[in-house]
């Protein structure tokens, strides 16, 4: 898992605004299957407006005609808007939950790793710990790579969520104050 890096340039991220209706996820998943497109990861949740949901879809670009993916997605009636988040244009985060074998011998090292990555310990057993960590996909990759050698019992990543970066121009009001 650690080897298939998320920051792989063969991935494209789409932020897709859809109507929050039953069956929309099925329609999208079925479209990908029907057209032979490859979904790498997918995260869905309702938005600020309960009529809509936002999905972050990461598509494996290898062998997938990306333009076709977007155009075919657009043809689904409940799909309202598709924004491609290009390399470096988005704020991306992911969450990982991982249960690690951790007895008296390595417990210290494991908790230290969690601390370095600003992760936390969310469950404790006799000889295992469950850690939670959030970060950019790269950071989550790195964290996963480092905890793995301790012995993974179970692992679950959420898949990426992303929003476009905000435009960093100062509002005109502020600027004009500065200029004067």
């Amino acid at each position: 898992m650690g080897q298939t890096s998320y920051s792989n340039s063969g991935h494209h991220i789409y932020s897709v605004l859809v109507e929050n209706k039953f069956g929309v996820l099925t329609r999208i998943a079925a479209l990908f299957a029907r057209r032979g497109f490859n979904i790498y990861s997918l995260a869905v949740s309702p938005t600020e407006d309960e009529n809509f949901s936002r999905m972050t879809i990461v598509v494996n670009a290898d062998g997938t005609p990306l333009e076709q993916v977007v155009k075919q997605l657009h043809k689904l009636i409940p799909v309202i808007k598709i924004t491609e988040i290009g390399n470096g244009e988005g704020i991306e985060r992911e969450l990982i939950l991982v249960t690690i074998e951790a007895d008296a011998n390595n417990r210290g090292m494991v908790t230290e790793l969690a601390a370095i990555f600003e992760g936390s310990i969310v469950d404790v057993g006799h000889d295992s710990l469950t850690l939670m960590m959030t970060g950019t996909p790269d950071q989550v990759d790195a964290f996963e790579d480092l905890v793995r050698p301790h012995g993974v019992v179970a692992i679950q990543r959420t898949g990426r969520i992303a929003l476009p970066k905000l435009v960093r121009e100062a509002p005109t009001k502020l600027r004009s104050v500065k200029a004067s």
Binding site: A30, R34, Q68, H74
Partner: protein, 570 residues
């Protein structure tokens, strides 16, 4: 006013000006069948739900209005999946209403339950499971809007029985709220200018007209555009009739069984003006070798078609009629400034091909009936605006090749899906839509046996279609491939010379029926068939079983490698 969901459904159909529905009742759809008794809408009781679907398609083909079919849950719904897939492929507007088990028991494997919305998701433009009777008018309005606008297509409304029985407050919605559905129709002005420039600089243009011309009701505009540019026009299998075959600029059908000139014109072209066509593999042959030197203008209302198969030099998203009208204006302007390109050399070449490689079949042997001959005789004995419907197989290709289509909406066939059994029900649907027009179906003996039962529907409902069976006792198209590509090893393609007796069978279904096995009987029998108007007519033409369709571009070859067939062996 309080009415039931079922009443609201029927009333909504009335609001959408539906004049006829094709259907078949059953448990889950029972509530809807009660208000149908009191509705002015004509209901045609079919004999199999597939028939209802293809009838709705035939109706839509002939009129451009959406066809409507109503069936029950479970097996009723699964029986109509094939017509949905057919309509999806050929962009036919169709509304299918299916009964569903009550909401309260959905998911419990109730009697005649199936996941209709799930099953039909991939073969509809959109579908709905109704969960609240109050939503019915809104959903019906949306359904008609989606089916008929943009790239048309089939939609399905799945109506649970308890929802149909629930009372609701009747109100017809003012507008259609579909935030995710806004088809582009206008085209980008800059792209239209670019296209006009390419047209003004092309000396070997071809107008590649597809089914989108008919969907957009753009046949008149196409004619004007063709005459303005002087360019030759090819009409795909879905576009036969969109430009008159008798027009001197018409080259006819391209593709796997197209004629030499139509295929080769595209191969040698320097500019394909693609209007509502989609570079289907049956048209392009091997993609890599297709029209290698042509620039491409591609006009389509579905943005996903642009660049799907061939990257266009000028992509234009929009309605074919609107775009052609704008292209006419833009092209005129460029012609005025830069002059009209000289196409005389191109036409010399095209005319030479037409002369040297026309469609041809063997007329010397008069002991065996040739399918081409039968079609020509039906054509010549019937009114020019006869609606021709076909099944799928060699007979379909002969029909497209040898008929003369001079009016739009006179050719009804299953192109994209290639659905055997399409002919009879689609012919019935077309005749219901256009009772004043003569409707001839050209069917195969294989196809006939798939949906013949609908002739019972036609006889009882007094829908006098005429069906010609080009009976070669074979699954002829498959036989042709086995002959050519499997060393004549015929596997499961022989039907029977004696069973069924098509004449007796047709008579049993309430039709007039005749058998023709001699050349001299062809014309008198067609005349007899054309004089019968109170019943469906079936003519069983016993044709040469060895007759193959040519020209042919075998799968995997480029369109430069056309097989012309035995008539051109020197």
């Amino acid at each position: 006013m309080k009415i039931t969901g079922a009443q609201a459904l029927v009333k909504s159909l009335e609001m959408q000006d539906v004049d006829v529905v094709f259907g078949y009742p059953g448990g889950a759809i029972l509530p809807v069948y009660d208000p149908i008794i009191d509705s002015p809408i004509r209901h045609i009781l079919v004999r199999h739900e597939q028939g209802a679907g293809h009838m709705a398609e035939g109706y839509a083909h002939a009129t451009g209005k959406p066809g409507v079919a109503i069936v029950t849950s479970g097996p009723g719904a699964t029986n109509i999946v094939t017509p949905l897939a057919d309509a999806m492929m050929d962009s036919i507007p169709m509304i299918v209403i299916t009964g569903q088990v009550p909401l309260a028991v959905i998911g419990t494997d109730a009697f005649q339950e199936c996941d209709t919305v799930g099953i039909t998701m991939g073969v509809t433009k959109h579908n709905w499971l109704v969960t609240d009777a109050q939503d019915i008018p809104k959903i019906v309005k949306q359904a008609f809007h989606i089916a008929t606008t943009g790239r048309p297509g089939p939609v399905l409304i799945d109506l649970p029985k308890d929802v149909a029985n629930t009372e609701m407050e009747w109100e017809w919605p003012e507008d259609i709220s579909l935030p995710g559905y806004k088809p582009t129709t206008n085209g980008h002005p800059k792209q239209i200018k670019e296209a006009a420039k390419l047209i003004a600089n092309s000396t070997r243009p071809v107008i590649y007209a597809g089914g989108g011309i008919l969907k957009a009701r753009a046949a008149e505009a196409l004619k004007e555009f063709a005459q303005l540019t002087g360019a030759p026009v090819v009409t795909t299998l879905m576009a036969r009739g969109a430009f008159p075959d008798e027009h001197e600029q018409c080259l006819g059908m391209p593709g796997m069984h197209g004629n030499y000139t139509a295929i080769t014109s595209m191969q040698e072209s320097d500019l394909l003006i693609t209007l509502g066509a989609r570079f289907d593999d049956r048209v392009t042959g091997k993609k890599d070798g297709f029209a290698p030197n042509a620039k491409v203008i591609h006009v389509d209302v579905d943005p996903a078609e642009l660049g799907k198969v061939r990257n266009p030099d000028v992509p234009i998203v929009g309605d074919a009629r609107l775009i052609i009208e704008k292209l006419i204006g833009a092209t005129k302007k460029v012609f005025e400034k830069e002059g009209k390109p000289d196409l005389s050399k191109w036409w010399d070449q095209l005319n030479a091909w037409r002369k040297e490689f026309p469609l041809k079949y063997d007329k010397t042997d008069d002991t065996l009936l040739k399918p081409e001959y039968c079609i020509e005789q039906i054509r010549d004995a019937s009114p020019k605006d006869t609606i021709l419907v076909a099944g799928v197989g060699t007979h379909q290709m002969f029909a497209s090749q040898y008929w003369k289509f001079n009016y739009p909406y006179t050719w009804v066939n299953s192109g994209g899906l290639g659905t055997m059994g399409f002919c009879i029900p689609a012919a019935i649907g077309a005749k219901v839509a256009k009772p004043e027009s003569m409707v001839w179906g050209i069917d195969g003996d294989g196809c006939f046996q798939m949906t013949a039962q609908e002739l019972v529907t036609a006889a009882i409902e007094k829908i006098p279609v005429k069906i010609a069976i080009l009976n070669n006792s074979y699954l002829g198209m498959v036989r042709q491939w086995q002959e050519l590509f499997y060393e004549e090893r015929y596997s499961e393609v022989h039907l029977s010379e004696t069973i069924p007796d098509f004449v007796k069978w047709s008579e049993a279904m309430g039709c007039a029926a005749f058998r023709v096995d001699k050349v001299e009987d062809v014309i008198p029998t067609i005349e007899k068939a054309n004089s019968i108007n109170d019943r469906p007519v079936v003519v069983d033409f016993r044709i040469d079983p060895a007759e193959k369709v040519f020209p042919m571009v075998p799968v995997g070859r480029t369109n430069s490698q056309i097989e012309l067939g035995p008539m051109f062996d020197k």
